[in-house]
Amino acid sequence: MTALGEQLSLTSLSAIEAGRLIAARKITPVELVEALVARVESVDDKLRSYITLMADTALEAARKAEIEIAAGRWRGPLHGVPYGVKDNYHVKGVRTTAGSRLMWDYVADETSTLIERLEAAGAILLGKMNTWEYGTGTGEILEDLPFPLARNPWNVEHFTGGSSTGVGVGVAAGTALFGLGSDTGGSIRLPAAATGVVGMKATYGLVSRAGCLPNCWSLDVTGPLTWTVEDSAVILETIAGADPRDPQSAGVPAGSYRQGLGSGVRGLVIGVIRDFGKNAPALAPDVAANLEAAEKALAKAGARLVTLALPAPLSTYRSVSSVINWGESYSIHEKDFQERRHLMGKALRDKMTAGFMLRAADFIAAQRQRRPLVAATDAAMRTCDAVLTPCTFGTAPRFGNQEALIEFTMHAATSIFNLSGHPAISVPTGFDAQGLPTSAQVAGRYFDEATVYRVAKVIEDALFDASRRPAI
């Protein structure tokens, strides 16, 4: 095999495959990091998945991992596996830009809890990945940010989804074997849907947000983007669990998500949400067809599918979420807006302006509406073991079509489960006629990520070809 062929085969491994090969001493962490760095050098001038590549520290960590493994001190399935993080996660001594001129010179004085947990598991941080400014955007692309846009590896003229843009791109293209993003209204699941990877937003409070730049305290969830469902389950087991550093930590331990992956869905009741209310976008034909294929796969595997009604239109979830987001986000970044808003891109400045113009009474009205809406959503969820919905209503639009970019971002089915706090995963379901990924969203009861993963695994086994990677 040529050197390029070897590089491509290593960077096309899932995280767990890589971990197994490392544990079996068939590849070394250094080889893996070198292959990924070479891959970044080869494709990232086009894809822009990274803001800061930490090749030197990654190689040092890889050498340390090799010594440990050789000495019999294997830490587990992620030992020696390289990953990237959205550049809103802090690493002590390393620049965090959050995609913004406002943080151009900012060097973190703390490390995020999730990165500490992954380090303890032996995973190797390869770098800080591209993001919309402060995790904020409507999809409108203005190229007014300090770093070039990330590009979709399936077609570089197409959208990546956001705001965890670089992580989605990197996992699909093989510049990282997995990554961490953050999700306030869809920012893990939307880039996962756009780039054909798995994006998990766990139950609110299960995964620590400590050491990640906040966007909206009441809605923010941190979590993984991965090539496979199994990868996601293993990484969630590693990062989830109580954290005294996070005031909203649910205080529960991480569950066991990988063990039951092969259990299938026989006997499970899966609610399918088809009606999103007035003014909901129409499902693109290929997205609809592949969603139907997912339903058939689940039925064939023994699940009972029932139609589930949302207690309110999608637009209500979006309005309530938006008002809460505007208010809290403004409070977080008030000083930046008051003193340095001229450095902000339009998307962040508009969001801050919205918070600036928001009345307290309206913010509280949204919070008051949130309580019964969430209770009703949970009551609906409890009639099933899991729920199936589209994630996005279309596939990644072409850059230049601003209306389509905004529709992809703002009119997705993701905000339902940010507002309610239920776990929700975006799982690939195939491709459209242009070769762009389609996706579905599986949601579950609070802290029942295990069932969400079981359902996602059946869909993945039926519809996902892990060997098909972007030809870049």
Binding site: P247, S315, T316, V323, Q338, F356, D362, I364, V374
Partner: protein, 69 residues
């Protein structure tokens, strides 16, 4: 516009609001227009949110003890 229809923000109102809340430097014409536009959008979204019927309907964010630091 009838007296029942919500009124729009004017640039003068937006400028006064910005001054009261200490926005510095003061917004220029383009920014005032954006403040008005976003103000409209925020107000419209807020109006779309149904008000809870009972005074005892509490927000999701109400303070609860013990409060974690």
């Amino acid at each position: 516009m009838s007296k029942d229809e919500p009124k729009s923000w004017t640039p003068e109102q937006a400028a006064a609001y910005a001054a009261v809340y200490g926005l510095s430097p003061p917004p220029d014409k383009a920014e005032l227009e954006r403040l008005c536009a976003m103000g409209e959008r925020v107000a419209a979204t807020a109006r779309s949110i149904a008000r809870m019927p009972f005074k005892s309907d509490e927000p999701a964010s109400v303070f609860k003890v013990p409060l974690q630091k």
